[in-house]
Structures are given as structure tokens and as C-alpha cells.
């Protein structure tokens, strides 16, 4: 249970949001060139980090906009929130 500070709407309960999984996974630039193994990496393989993770969230029951979040998955503490296209504030 945590509060999420939507960059467009402000603080809301996280039940209004939908998690979108790992962030910064780039869609292959030349899909026709990809091997099966590279497709598997892109489609299925995930870091699934215990600790600081970069992820996407959607304010599904609010403004319906997507944004990025840095969150500690070991205790659900939100470290930072930033808009799509912005550089992550932490490395």
C-alpha cells in the first residue's frame, strides 16, 4: 500500500494506477534482423530486480497517462518519479 505522486495529477492511492513492468526496454529498431534469441530477450526476459528498479506506471483510473518510476522492490519505497522521455534522475 503506497501513495503515488502522479506527475500530472498529484498524490493518489496506488489502487488508481496500473503497473507496466520494467522501463527503458527499447523496441528493436530493425525487427526483421532479429534472431529468435534476441526476440526472446526483448519479449520475455526481465531483470526482475530485488532492490532499485526502473519501471513504467499508468494512472489508469485518473489521467490515463504513462510515466516512469524508480522504486525499491524490496520494501515498495518510491525513490523518484519522472515523465516519459525524461532522463532518469538516478543511475
Amino acid at each position: 500500500m503506497f501513495i503515488i505522486n502522479c506527475p500530472f495529477c498529484g498524490e493518489r492511492d496506488h489502487s488508481e494506477f496500473k503497473a507496466g513492468g520494467e522501463a527503458h526496454i527499447e523496441r528493436p529498431k530493425q525487427p526483421t534482423e532479429l534472431s529468435d534469441d534476441e526476440w526472446a530477450q526483448y519479449l520475455f526476459m526481465r531483470k526482475n530486480i530485488k532492490g532499485i528498479q526502473f519501471e513504467r506506471w499508468n494512472h489508469a483510473h485518473g489521467c490515463r497517462k504513462w510515466f516512469n518510476m524508480i522504486r525499491d522492490t524490496s520494501n515498495d519505497e518510491i525513490k523518484s518519479i519522472y515523465k516519459m522521455g525524461e532522463k532518469p534522475p538516478l543511475k
Binding site: 500500500m1 496506488h14 489502487s15 496500473k18 503497473a19 513492468g21 529468435d36 534469441d37 526476440w39 526472446a40 530477450q41 519479449l43 520475455f44 526476459m45 526481465r46 531483470k47 526482475n48 530486480i49 530485488k50 528498479q53 519501471e55 506506471w57 522492490t73 524490496s74 520494501n75 515498495d76
Partner: protein
Amino acid sequence: MKNRYSIFSLIKNAFSYHENWQKAWKDPVPKKEYDAVIIGGGGHGLATAYYLAKKHNMKNIAVVEKGWIGGGNTGRNTTIIRSNYLWDASAGLYDHALKLWEGLSQEINYNVMFSQRGVMNLAHNLQDVRDLKRRTHANRLNGIDAYYLSTEEVKKFCPIINTSPDIRYPVLGGTLQKRAGTARHDAVAWGYARGADEMGVDIIQNCEVKGIKRNGDEIEGLETNKGFIKTKKVGVVAAGHSSVLANMAGLRLPLESKPLQALVSEPVKPIIDTVVMSNAVHAYVSQSDKGELVIGAGTDDYISYSQKGSHQIVEGTLNAIIELYPIFSRMRMLRQWGGIVDICPDASPIISKTTIKGLYFNCGWGTGGFKATPGSGDLFAHTIANDEPHKLNAAFNLNRFVSGDLVDEHGAAAVAH
């Protein structure tokens, strides 16, 4: 040699006020080297060790567990056992496990309280009805007992269900697997631990793996908080923490770890003598031998290792429970908890070799691993001992995410994941 548990040993020990029971397993310090090490002392890991020693004569092995045995998802699930899966590969896997359950208490001389009280799955809309009928036929073709029930038959089998057509999600029918049921989850871990320990397996608790040492593409050993353990074979059975261990070995897995919650009510007199699951409204309920209602809720959609879930998940489940069972509306809930489940994109497990020689993974069981415990252990032991999968787990390899040959049980598996 372990003393056998029986009615006579129970009577004998009663005379000494149950103070002289033999220790069920030792508390060894790790040896320098093992033929194989299993990471994870849950039901699946301990079963793997048991079958490695019993069927494959690998006795110089260890199970390392970072906490205490059976303290993870083994002790947190809702103990449901069934094998009514849609696809052939899954049916083979889960029914293999169910057949082992049927003789398990005798085999390991430990009462796992396996109770074949039946599992009923409800249909709440037309698509549910079609899916359930299709699954019933598929199950029968695979030799799994399955029946389709009308609304009246559902009511007859479990009279406390509200089958009124006026509720939000009316009961339109259901399926029944009579061989399915429940078992005592802790006893499964303890029974396998005792059996494995008797055959010489070292069960090392409070032993956390900090690193997996590789020499090129071969396994050399494990760095743990109790020192370095040399071994050529490592079987990882770490459920929600599988990705953490895979990262140590430089591997990626197709898993996401999410919180799954369950709760129990105050104990009451026997009221529900079967297991009822409802996919569409996501509620399932059974009653433990102590009398508590055991209720399974759903997973949260975000990745977390915190073993805490969201309140609205529990609320949604209880809304559904109260509508389906108005008689429970004033029950008080006693405890609620979460576990971390490792979910695969196709909602099927991985019991597989990896690209690293001597490293094996048994993971991805998601929300439904408990039912497979004996089968999972048996097949994983086969895979580790022979460096080849058994034909029953060949489809559940890691390479299926590259080849595209997925075992898509999402929604087909009689429960929402």
C-alpha cells in the same frame, strides 16, 4: 535410522509426555564439497533432494535455505491440489504430481493429511461455461477425472453457494475433479526433510547464497554466509527469488515476482467440505481441519519482494466471497499474509537445464506451485541426475521462450493468475 511414525510410536511417546521424540532432521554444518546442492528449502527443493537420494542414489547432496525450511511460499499457500489443466503437457505434469500425492503419506511415513475432498470450479458467464466444458473434455482425453455440473448440481454438491440468478455474477455451472483436494502444507516440507535427512542429505538452514561461482560455462560452487561450498551441480528452487539467483549466475529469466495474498477466518464448525474456486470473480475457499476458512486472493500487478499485498485485492476477493456465500457475511478474518510468486509469461513453470553446465532451474510456478510439489521434485531430480529432462517436463524448458513453443495456461488453468 529414523524411528517409524505409527499409532504405536504415538502411544509409546505419550508415556513420556511427548518429550523424547527423535529429532526429525539434523542441523549440520556444510561440508566442503557436495555432488549437488539444492538452493531453497521449500517443498519443491526438499522433494527434489528426497528423490535425488531415493531414486538416483545421489546422497552426498545438500539443501541450503536462507531462512527456515517451509518458511516461504510452502507455508503461505492455500494448499489446493488438483490436476485439471487444459493442455496435454500440463495435464501430464500435474497429474503425475497428483498420483504421487495419493501415496505420499505412506511413502515418506509422514502424515501430510492429503484429503481428496474434490475441487469445484465455477462458471459465471457464457464464456466460462464454454471454457469449462472444453477443459472437462480435454481432461477426460488425458485420463483425468472431470465432470461438468449444472447449476443445480453445483448447489447439491455445495449447498451454501448462492445460486440465485439475481446475483451480480450468477453461477451458471461448474466442473468437479473428485480426486483433487488439499494437504497440510508444512507437513509436506517436514516429511520430505525428514525423509531426505534419513538418506544422508544435509539440510542447512540459515544459509543464504551470496554468489554463484562459475568457471566459464561450468558451475564451480556457491558463496554462502556459511562459507564456500564446492559443487558441480546446482538446482535452484527459489520461487520468488529465482531471478535474484539467476542474476548471480549472469542469467536472465522470463519471470516477474509479485505479491500473492491469502487469508484465514476465525475457526468455525464444518460448513464447507470441498474446495470451491471461481475464476471470473477471483475467489476461492476451503475449510481447514482447524475450522478456519482458507481464502485465496489475487496477485498485485507490480513487482515486489516485500511479502505484502494491496488492500484492495483482499477487499475484492471478500466482496466476491460474500456474494457467493452470504452465510459468511459476518465472519471475522483472523490473519492475512502475502508471499512472492514468480510468474512466467505463459503461466507455466520452468523445470529446465540452462546454458550453464550444471545449473538447473525449477521456477515460474506462479500462483499454483504447491499442488505440484511431489511431481516437481521428482522430475527436477531426474533432470539434475541425468542432465536431461524427463519426458513429462521436457515441454517446460527454458528454451520455449526462444522457440515460441509456449504452454499457455493463462486463463486455461481454471484460475486467474
